[in-house]
Subunit: 290 residues, 4 copies
């Protein structure tokens, strides 16, 4: 900025049907509100005909003023283009509910990085149907709540608690950190676009129980993981992040599982960071990651 | 070696039911035949209870003598352990038949590296149902034969030609370098353990036509390829090599396809090299790669 | 585009000192000239205080008209911001001079992909101080010129020929495809920003002759390659692309060299593609790759 | 094993000057002692003329008996070949002293995986010149000792404490988990072959302070890390493990540093696991990793 006043960083994401003049209109509103574009990415999807944009905007640090002015300047633009948009401050911790089960690797990875300031999330609650992650949660000063799931009633109660927590705690993101229960269609819909799951992935894919055992039996040379949005179509929601790691015939099922957990933790962390930084936009069955 | 006589390098691969004393017996036969173990890898498969070994052996360069002596010394061992084994000279070019269709990337990659001495294969024939790779074959001085496949009869004739070529040309390895026809069960069986195919792989897997288009539509973040032995179970034979490459939402179907071809060529080359160096051993539905 | 007239794709790259209103001004000129932004990336460098942008613009296919209108609309903007800019058509083959020596792997890789339409370059000439790549050049119908370099005079003559060729053939990019001669400071300066070199890279770096031998002796677990702009500071110009590949103690110097060549070819290809697609912008000692 | 008695897994590593008959002699001693080779890798170094081997041996679970018998059977072999060897039980936790400073990422990674049984080490002590890792140590029930280093005397005292701890606690491995002090030559020598350091690596290498800042300024596309044995030649000891991660121009110095820490933790963990599983053998300035 030309002057030396303290500045605030804003992140603006938007999407609308593609057409001429969008960038000009948006940038005009930003200029009118006294902002300066520090970073920008856009993408026009040939599949859906939609236009997507993410901007980081610097403005003199009078947040309310900029936000107000910007909304005023943007109003005719969003109306004209039937635009979906969202303005946020850069680095604001996203309120995140973690669902866990017995496995600790994803929870540990997320909480360790959150504590170190490497992941812009805050975690007002971990809900789990097992006790295994309790001590990690306590070490990282995160509230932990255990609810056993022994049958269908328990599961319904657990899901009701999830929804209540989302509401009471202003949750913006639900992370299924190896939460091994299948969500009901109702919960999937209620959390549409804000629940991220992590699951193992293999080339080729293996269906059914114990995929690492199947991977071992087929002698795969790569194991991987996929982080995706939760939808009612199990493990088939829009993909946010994927990665693989090299293995060979000498790896036991146990070693494959451990390496797989390393990849899972890494992929989930990456996806959560992208979401928390407002980098993930939905484009039908796919995601745009800026 | 202690003396300065010229030496020959041998590669010995073997497998048998696991049990005590195998390595001692094998190494005894090598010592008795005057060889020295330069390199060795072994693996005991818990899945099948079988033992696998690959050795590189150095012997004074009187090949016939060593081979003869070694076979004699090994006879009681192989008999005792019901051993499957194979003795070859290191670096001997493996006689390879390439089956091609319209795509050139795999053929070009294999022939370029063969010419540079980077791939121990010789290619007495390329058979293709299209003309596209003819000029590449000619540039690299490899015989090329075109046989169109317009119907079931053509296909049967093509396959008969494959079998005849395998026989007449002492073919040890058949490489399906993007040969887009499904092999008949009979041909699969006739080529069992010596035909390698390459196909695209994705997380998750996509069935049906135009997988790169499906990959684009689902917004995958990785595309990959798998080289595997041909079996009657289409694209599901024992895996030899796999790799992936990172992509994002901005890649068009055409760009995904091109990058996919880069990975396919790399993975196939790697698999062919492993096979030609006697590093691939079958262990039921999986491979041991030494 | 709203109408169904055939369109042309343009790529606009620009840089200037960062400040408010740039995107708005640029997008205004595009709108005024009747273009639609299909893709856009920008970056504000904190290191140099400069702003960089790359846009792909779609306009009704009357190229001269759009280009003329756009230049007119842009003139006040470029003047106001002291902007460096360049407008090109998407996919136009970049006129590329290749300098070669004995190694064939990079030349082969570039020419194979150019022929397949995977690399938007045209190659009016390969200049080499050895004959090794002649047959590859001929196969791919690329003019080849051999000039031996036996001493300082030959080298000066070779470099004079390079400069003459750049001038006569309207060369936009010079690729040193394992051209093993050190360029004179004068030639480096004459080719500033348009000559790309590829060299091997290791962790840690090795100075002096036969780096693969040194890499072997130190037991590195990764070998790599770096593509960079040529500057007078040998092998230290702005980096365009890098990659590594995994190796282990069992690799001979010869095997390391071959794998190194695979990485070199891949990294150089990637860098050339980025350059030819107008994705590489210089920011002092670094590059912005869009 | 033929019978159903409980078995113990042994790991044998050895090296000697290469020559004929070694494998036969070793395998003979194993057979004589009643063991069965479950896994084996060997390597003959052309650089040093030495032979290296690692075997996993299964024997009926009377450890003392097998160990005693094996030593007896092996004695003439080790004498004949002037062999260096070591027999250990598979999975035995290696007694590890961790040296730390302010950074927590490596310590956290090692202790988390140790607790989950994924890393066969036990950590009787963490010594640090800062307090930062104390709470992590306490959470994982590992003794922590803080000793500030304000000057040369403190440093000498710290190093004396390291040597005393190594002695008192039967330490087999010292891990410098981002311990930012340069070890004295005396300590390097005292810990030769059993101290592992982790440091960042780049292509090209950067000397001096704040390497991530230099990496940013030069616009590197990869950042990496190297785990190596500590020698008096700073950061130049035999390499055990290396890895890299992809970055681009948009990463700030802070983001590069965080990603660099992820790679450091992963590479160090891998190196520690290899060491603890008796997979690392020294071959002059390089390592053999089985």
């Amino acid at each position: 900025m030309a002057n030396d006043l303290p500045t605030t960083q804003w992140v603006l994401t938007l999407s609308c049907i593609d057409g001429p003049g969008i960038v000009h209109a948006i940038s005009g509103a930003i200029v009118a509100a006294g902002g300066n574009i520090a970073e920008s990415q856009q993408f026009a999807s040939h599949d859906t005909g939609r236009f997507f944009m993410r901007l980081q905007v610097e403005a003199v640090a009078q947040p309310d003023t900029f936000e107000g002015r910007f909304e005023q300047a943007l109003a005719p633009v969003t109306e004209r283009y039937h635009m979906t948009w969202r303005l946020d401050t850069v680095g604001r911790p996203v309120r995140t509910l973690i669902l866990a089960s017995t496995a600790t690797h994803c929870v540990n990875d997320l909480l360790y990085r959150r504590r170190g300031g490497q992941l812009p999330i805050e975690v007002p609650l971990i809900l789990s149907n097992h006790e295994t992650v309790r001590d990690i949660a306590e070490f990282y000063d995160v509230p932990f709540e255990h609810r056993a799931i022994a049958g269908a009633d328990d599961k319904a109660a657990f899901e009701a608690r999830v929804l209540a927590a989302v509401d009471e705690l202003d949750i913006e993101l639900v992370v299924l950190a190896r939460y091994m229960q299948i969500l009901s269609p109702g919960l999937c819909e209620a959390l549409a676009g804000k629940a991220i799951n992590i699951h193992h992935s293999f080339l080729p894919g293996f269906k059914g129980a114990n995929p690492y055992k199947q991977a071992h039996q087929r002698g795969v040379k790569l194991i991987g993981a996929t982080a995706h949005f939760v939808t009612t179509d199990l493990d088939e929601g829009p993909i946010i992040e994927q990665d693989t790691i090299r293995v060979d015939h000498s790896y036991s099922v146990r070693e494959l599982t451990q390496l797989g957990q390393d990849v899972e933790a890494r992929v989930l962390r990456h996806a959560v960071r992208s979401f928390a930084e407002n980098r993930v936009l939905a484009d039908g069955d796919r995601t745009i990651i800026f």
